[in-house]
Symmetry: C2
Subunit: 268 residues, 2 copies
Amino acid sequence: MLATGLEREALTDRSAAEVRAAIRGKRWRGTTHDLARGFIHANLAVLPAGLALDFLRFCLRNPKPCPLLDVTDTGDPEARQCAPGSDLRTDLSRYCIYRDGRLSGEAEDLLGVWRPDHVGFVMGCSLSFDAALEAEGIPARSFRRGARIPVFTSNIQCVPAGPFRGPLVVSLKPIPKRWVDAVIAVTEQYPLAHGGPVHVGDPAEIGVDPRRAEWTTACEIGPDEVPVFWACGVTPQAVAMAAGIPEMFTHAVGHMFLTDLTLADIRR
Amino acid sequence: MLATGLEREALTDRSAAEVRAAIRGKRWRGTTHDLARGFIHANLAVLPAGLALDFLRFCLRNPKPCPLLDVTDTGDPEARQCAPGSDLRTDLSRYCIYRDGRLSGEAEDLLGVWRPDHVGFVMGCSLSFDAALEAEGIPARSFRRGARIPVFTSNIQCVPAGPFRGPLVVSLKPIPKRWVDAVIAVTEQYPLAHGGPVHVGDPAEIGVDPRRAEWTTACEIGPDEVPVFWACGVTPQAVAMAAGIPEMFTHAVGHMFLTDLTLADIRR
């Protein structure tokens, strides 16, 4: 029951429910990469009910950056559709607290700040991406350039909803030319993990300069590679921050919410 | 410009936008079947903003009966995503007005009752069904038994959201055995038109007796036929009526909203 009592390896082949229980019991405080292998990891956003209808519209109008897996009842911290028995206040290992459009701090749980008017939004993320590609025989791990995926703000505008408006944030993966078609075909099968790319080819066409680090890291494109861009789950956070909304809680980078869904569940 | 100035044939090969304009100009007051061929016809529900978040949750949790094509901004009568330039108050040829969970009347338009707190929900309907099947070489028109599709209340419970809860309403099509697999495969390609069936085979298993007329008409199953059931767009109306919600406007039966979307747009 010690915080140090578990190694990452011990949680790799556990179910999402078991990992959520370990996090809730404070037996795991680390990031969630490679945990509960085979289960869908997700982005979390918690907003007051007064903003929930517009945020929901924003997600529906921009399904590539904001693929909805679950929306809780107002005040209910359980993600009943994608993770029955879960508690969004305690089942993530680290949270970000945004106030008035700015990051005001991080938190170990949301027990002290969760109110009866809060609504939780669970959205798919691209961490399921590599597993889906590898399952189809595409050597996705070999495409990785470093620990952090390059993320940029594009000049593509999201469809607005109420106070939520702004540019699409995109992730970039340089893909060897011979694999591009196959990678596109596989990712299109997973709209709830951002789906197919939003742009293939010249980064300047969507206002991106990959040689300049922006959200995470810069990225060199090799001579035999094609730059491929996907909608990124950072978008709703960026849009909510730009709107200066009074309050929002999210997962911290790398500390995702583990759902009971598998790749097979979200394959279309 | 007369109400009688147009024949159905004259509108069959017009675009959805042209038919909406004819209806808005009171040049067409009839039902919409066979109009704007190739465009997606849709169900409409208009609710006060105070109920919109729960209704939206209901739709997201029950996508087969409630496949969302568009949700308007609060007070905005334009369905900007699926029919730019449209006006949900005037672009349908007949509406139903529900008050306190009961049908209180019909209306030619919603101009006198639309308020700044109203939200419009546009949902796919199965009228696109036959066109999709025929496009795949399946003789769907020959399966029809009469003018009205048999509709029944099943014993399958919808996933509730706030005041919205109740059984799934289903449509029944008896399909010749040799076509069943193909029909299922095609309809699964169109989740925004209710998608694949919710039940195939013995009607009693989902609490339905097809020999007894319920919502529309009874239905005999021939010896060489299989009863196949799809989620029906009547479900959200039935659930809203059962919840006794104070106010809701919908399309009248057969008087659908014509979107600019085509089958190709909603094929997954």
